[in-house]
């Protein structure tokens, strides 16, 4: 497969089509409009369906319906729109409906700004809707990673019958990079994936009361609700082993930069410069933010490290709360932050890292 030059949002849409996504519903909001626009011309080419919903609320409900019928389905939005989608996401989590959605996050709260930010971390990882459910959340830092993670996200969604979130920011969403696209699944493969779900999907069943499809985003029985919650809790716990992180020059690091998405990528470029200056810097980049890669922070050499630097495009810092849990007071943690749509600069990261090394 030859490399192509693509924008993050469009590459995500193409990756979704290639892994068998055949339904997309969405509503316009900046900076993610290229996703629905791409799907609107691409899905008809492969026998799929695009619907521009009347709202984010309706769009995610359409995805709930399409995925309840067995079709790999997707929606996308940006921060305030994701809040509106939380109703449908919670229903999908409760009813065990596999679907994938993308948050191209922007500055917040409220309508915020349309520029890139990472201010939806808590919403993405702790409470994407009512009811205490958890989701697998991928946080790519490049267009290639966004493609690979989207391709994988549909498999993860189907495997666990749960919603999966691709969390990016306006930088990863709108920048163009060379990317290798994954293989296109054949029509036969796509049909087989749908057929494999037939037992529980709303496609009609024999007049056999025991085996009808019953999509339930809740239950009248409190006993059933509790046992479902216990099953969910066990599932979430089992995901921990699938946490992913990039560890870069960590072995002898005296200052460890950490973050996710574009901030961490900027941090990685800072590490290279710091190393050239003779400063032993390293990096932990969370590739999944739920489950959080706590274990990666055990690989820090705490005898040598002087400090951890949390890099986030969010004020107040949010990701740092998980870093604190992971570091367990073994090293001091400081932050390098920007907010409201301002993009992290490498210079700010370098300054903050040098400051840690200069401190006695």
């Amino acid at each position: 497969m030859a490399r192509v030059f693509m924008k993050g949002t469009e590459a995500i849409a193409e990756a979704a089509v290639r892994t068998g996504c055949r339904f997309f519903a969405g509503y316009p909001i900046t900076p993610q409009n290229e996703i629905p626009e791409y799907f609107s011309r691409r899905l008809p080419e492969v026998g799929g369906v695009f619907v521009q919903g009347e709202s984010e609320v309706a769009s995610v409900s359409m995805v709930y319906g399409a995925a309840s019928g067995g079709t790999r389905s997707m929606t996308s939005s940006s921060s305030p729109g994701i809040s509106l989608k939380s109703e449908g996401i919670s229903y999908c989590a409760a009813a065990r409906i596999p679907m994938v959605y993308v948050n191209v996050s922007r500055g917040g709260p409220g309508v915020g700004s349309i520029q890139p930010a990472q201010m939806d971390y808590l919403q993405a990882t702790k409470a994407s809707g009512n009811g205490g459910f958890r989701m697998r959340v991928f946080a790519p830092a490049s267009v290639q990673e966004a493609v690979d993670m989207t391709y994988k996200a549909f498999d993860v969604a189907d495997q666990y019958r749960r919603p999966v979130l691709i969390l990016i920011d306006g930088v990863v969403g709108t920048m163009m990079e060379p990317v290798e696209l994954p293989p296109m699944k054949s029509d036969e493969e796509v049909a087989a994936m749908k057929e494999a779900k037939k037992a529980w999907t709303l496609t009609g069943h024999k007049l056999d009361y025991a085996h009808r499809a019953w999509i339930q985003p809740g239950n009248w029985s409190t006993k059933v609700m509790q046992s479902d919650s216990e099953e969910d809790a066990a599932l979430y716990k089992s995901w921990q082993k699938e946490a992913e992180a990039e560890e870069f020059m960590l072995d002898d690091a005296e200052v460890v930069l950490t973050g996710y998405g574009i901030s961490a990528r900027i941090g990685k470029s800072a590490v290279k410069i710091l190393r050239a200056e003779g400063i032993k810097a390293g990096l932990i980049r969370a590739k999944t933010v739920y489950p959080f890669p706590y274990e990666a922070y055990d690989h820090i050499n705490y005898k040598k490290v002087k400090g951890i630097l949390d890099i986030e495009m969010s004020i107040p810092a949010l990701f740092v709360e998980d870093v604190q849990v992971a570091v367990k007071d073994r090293a001091p943690i400081s932050t390098c932050l920007c907010s409201g749509g301002n993009i992290m600069t490498r210079e700010a990261v370098l300054t903050a890292a040098r400051k840690i090394m200069e401190a006695k």
Binding site: V51, S61, G65, G69, G88, Y91, A95, T203, G204
Partner: protein, 245 residues
């Protein structure tokens, strides 16, 4: 002996509906079941349920079903039907669900001409939550959130969903029926059958609005509810075919 009547197979055996005495949901469920039996479509039928009393059927009807978020049934049905065009997809919604919180979803699905069927139960009140005012509550009718009766100055007027949707170009079939007497029950059954057939023939959006009662929250016994429908509800919500194309 000749068997001239039996329970519809589309209602599960040995199940209890859970509806209040005198509630017409059970009547409508029976009609839907009979239509599905007569059309022989049980193996290709899926229902999207609204939130409220209309969702009580989930446990005892025999067809595939999903519960939509409150008001979103037409959106859920859109996603399901577009990706499974051979499945008969219908929504079953109350007035709070369809005409208040789901107004955008209802209007937009109708405007797109989605090839789905909407069964709309209009009893002028929120049932399951305990009798609050609905968009369809009559002026003067008491509700738990309008204890002195709906007044037009503060609450506006009842919404006529068939007539509102009739402003749109796309819908194929809009009809209002009731279940307040045997004749109207038969008309309701015929309307449901026509609406399902429309979908099977690919004609697009059909809605059957059924004027019913809520003895519990109206505070009337079931028989008096029938009079109330005749004397109060039907003058506000005249029965008949509003659109058929």
């Amino acid at each position: 002996m000749e068997l001239i009547y039996s329970r519809t197979k589309t209602i599960q055996e040995d199940k209890v509906s859970g509806f209040c005495p005198g509630c017409m949901h059970g009547t409508v469920m029976k009609l839907i079941g009979e239509v599905i039996d007569e059309l022989g479509i049980i193996e290709k039928t899926a229902c999207v349920l609204g939130i409220g009393c209309c969702g009580l059927q989930m446990d005892y009807m025999a067809y595939d079903n999903a519960t939509a978020p409150h008001g979103r049934a037409c959106a859920v049905a859109t996603g399901l039907k577009r990706t499974n065009p051979d499945t008969l997809v219908f929504t079953y919604q109350g007035d709070g669900d369809l005409a208040s919180i789901g107004l955008a979803e209802t209007m937009s699905a109708a405007n797109r001409g989605e090839n789905i069927t909407v069964i709309f139960i209009n009893n002028g009140i929120y049932g399951m939550t305990g009798g609050q005012m609905a968009p369809t509550t009559l002026v003067g009718m008491k509700a738990s959130t309008a204890p002195f009766g709906r007044n037009a100055k503060d609450h506006g007027y009842p919404m006529h969903m068939c007539e509102i949707l009739n402003q749109l170009t796309a819908p194929a079939y809009l009809v209002r029926t009731s279940c307040n007497n045997p004749q109207n029950v038969m008309k309701t059954k015929n309307a449901i059958k026509k609406a399902f057939k429309n979908q099977l023939e690919g004609k697009g959006f059909s809605m059957v609005e059924i004027v019913t009662s809520c003895p519990t929250n109206w505070g009337l016994d079931p028989l008096k509810c029938l009079d109330y429908i005749e004397e109060k509800m039907l003058p506000e919500y005249p029965l008949g075919v509003i659109r058929d194309r």
